[in-house]
């Protein structure tokens, strides 16, 4: 029982990171109709940027973190404006080829700049693990949970109560009518890519201390992020969060009780089963987007 609780807690930590990655993927897809396979590699570059501020410039963790997120926002908007905008109305296959191309390009560029040797990445909060009941937890794990929760609340407020949030929700449903209501949809697309890149960047910076920092660090997270997104219904943000947590916990259980080499396989087996029963995902509904 103690092991189960510990494994479940560990799964929630990874699940939080998958959820952050999934929200970014879903938000970008829902608003701009582009499935961004380069999401993880953009997050990895943001993480390397924070590492550069941290180690090479010598800034503190939190200053490096904030500067890296500003970079992520600019990076996201630049990728959208320079590349994605050109293929936004192209057939889905063309978009997939472009984002897969960006995946490879960003991976190669990161290797060229920072090399392929894994780097250690410090935790935001240092200190010994402590015990709550029978569960051991580290300050960094609590930091991950705290940041994830804070971002969920922040994005909930953003979508529910702000002018830009209302504009984003409207644009997600009907681009043409939104434009007629005076909404600058191009601005909404820019902000969506900025927000998506920030969420990915946070996922990357939270991942690096518990794995390592190297150009392929986000591939597993990207796969699990996509799994979480599909699990949750792909157009449903709360669904992506719950999907992330379920995928995190479930994959940890599989790793512990069956074998870590089978965790991804079992996650996708579960997804196949869920999609067999409910083809729109666990929380997805038939979604018709007007353009």
């Amino acid at each position: 029982m103690e092991a189960l609780l510990q494994i479940t807690f560990g799964g929630l930590i990874f699940g939080s990171i998958y959820a952050l990655a999934a929200i970014g993927i879903v938000m970008i897809y829902k608003t701009t109709d582009v499935v961004n396979f380069a999401h993880g590699e953009m997050a990895m570059i943001t993480t390397f940027i924070s590492f550069t501020f941290l180690q090479m410039v010598g800034l503190s963790f939190f200053v490096s973190f904030l500067l890296a997120l500003i970079f992520a926002a600019i990076f996201g908007m630049t990728v959208y404006q320079a590349i994605i905008k050109r293929v936004q109305n192209a057939p889905p296959l063309n978009q997939i080829v472009v984002t897969l191309g960006l995946f490879l390009a960003f991976n190669g560029i990161a290797g060229l700049i920072w090399g392929y040797t894994p780097h250690g990445y410090p935790s935001a909060l240092r200190g010994d693990s402590f015990q709550v009941g029978s569960v051991f937890m580290s300050p960094h794990q609590l930091f991950i949970l705290g940041i994830t929760l804070a971002l969920m609340i922040l994005f909930f407020i953003l979508f529910k109560y702000t002018k830009i949030g209302l504009a984003m929700r409207a644009t997600q449903q009907d681009m043409q009518t939104s434009s007629l209501m005076g909404i600058k949809v191009s601005q909404v697309f820019n902000l969506t890519w900025a927000a998506g890149a920030i969420l990915g960047g946070v996922a990357g910076i939270l991942t690096a201390p518990i794995t390592y920092l190297e150009p392929s660090m986000m591939i597993d997270i990207l796969i699990m992020g996509f799994a979480a997104a599909v699990f949750g219904g792909f157009v449903n943000l709360p669904g992506a969060v719950i999907g992330g947590l379920i995928v995190g916990v479930y994959s940890n259980w599989v790793s512990y009780y069956i074998g870590s080499e089978l965790s991804v396989a079992f996650v996708f087996l579960l997804i196949v089963l869920v999609l067999y029963v409910k083809p729109t995902g666990l929380f997805g509904a038939k979604y018709v987007k007007k353009v």
Partner: protein, 256 residues
């Protein structure tokens, strides 16, 4: 107020709007009628800037509309409703109307997060304006309903309400009573007359319900195959042989 000067729209080999000249005067209800496929909605789409003119010009208060993008037309004072209610189906009635206020809402993400007094004041004003509009439409009880769950008649009212939110100078309504019963049609007719008399709206109306058109319009323009075939006050248009022939194949317009 709004002038179409030899407005022409061609889609490939099809001429949807054929050198149309029109003048819409301030404070009037001006109806555009014609058989299905006559090019009426295309006229609205050119004014909304969704469709480009092949040739000709459109001016609103002496401003050339063609210089503006679709998202800028609302700032000129023109809003519209749609033939097939292009509402945000997964959002509530309240949120749909708030989107209609988008161009007038001045608050940024930081002030919203801090919930500054200026933001609270804007939220109160927006909510007050939304509730006033819902009450005018007699659908206050639906404010928290998700639009996709509403019957079509109510969706039409939400569509009209959203277009009214910014107090436009010119309101374009595309078949506002399509799919409505007699009671709802009468309610919308009274609403449009009230908008004209009490709020000073100018209304450009596309409608197939001829009884309604003849009852509330100050001026009627008739098009067929994109070309104007008649215009004038309702009594004149109703008896125009060209209209009776082209529009109804010989029937009396008032009974359409």
């Amino acid at each position: 107020m709004l002038t179409l000067d030899k407005a022409r729209v061609e889609f490939g080999g099809l001429t949807a709007v054929n050198d149309l000249n029109m003048e819409i005067s301030k404070g009037q209800i001006h109806s555009l009628i014609g058989p299905n496929g006559a090019g009426k909605t295309t006229v609205f789409n050119t004014i909304s800037r969704f469709v480009n003119l092949t040739s000709g010009n459109i001016k609103f208060n002496n401003e050339n509309i063609l210089n503006y993008k679709p998202n800028e037309v609302i700032r000129l004072g023109i809003t519209r409703s749609f033939q097939n209610t292009e509402l945000f189906a997964n959002m509530t009635v309240m949120d749909n109307l708030l989107v209609g206020l988008h161009p007038l809402t001045k608050k940024n993400i930081f002030s919203t997060m801090l919930h500054l007094p200026s933001v609270r004041r804007i939220e109160q004003e927006n909510r007050k304006k939304t509730i006033e509009t819902l009450e005018l439409l007699q659908i206050r009880h639906l404010e928290d309903e998700v639009v996709k769950n509403l019957p079509f008649g109510y969706q039409k009212m939400v569509d009209i309400g959203r277009a009214m939110m910014v107090n436009p100078e010119l309101l374009l309504l595309d078949e506002p009573v399509a799919g409505m019963n007699n009671v709802e049609t009468k309610q919308i007719s009274e609403l449009l007359l009230r908008l004209k008399h009490d709020f000073g709206f100018t209304i450009f109306l596309i409608e197939h319900d001829m009884s309604m058109v003849m009852e509330i319009s100050d001026f009627v323009t008739v098009v067929n195959f994109g070309k104007k075939i008649s215009e004038g006050v309702p009594a004149m248009v109703r008896n125009d042989p060209a209209v009776i022939e082209a529009y109804l194949g010989g029937e009396d317009v008032s009974h359409a």
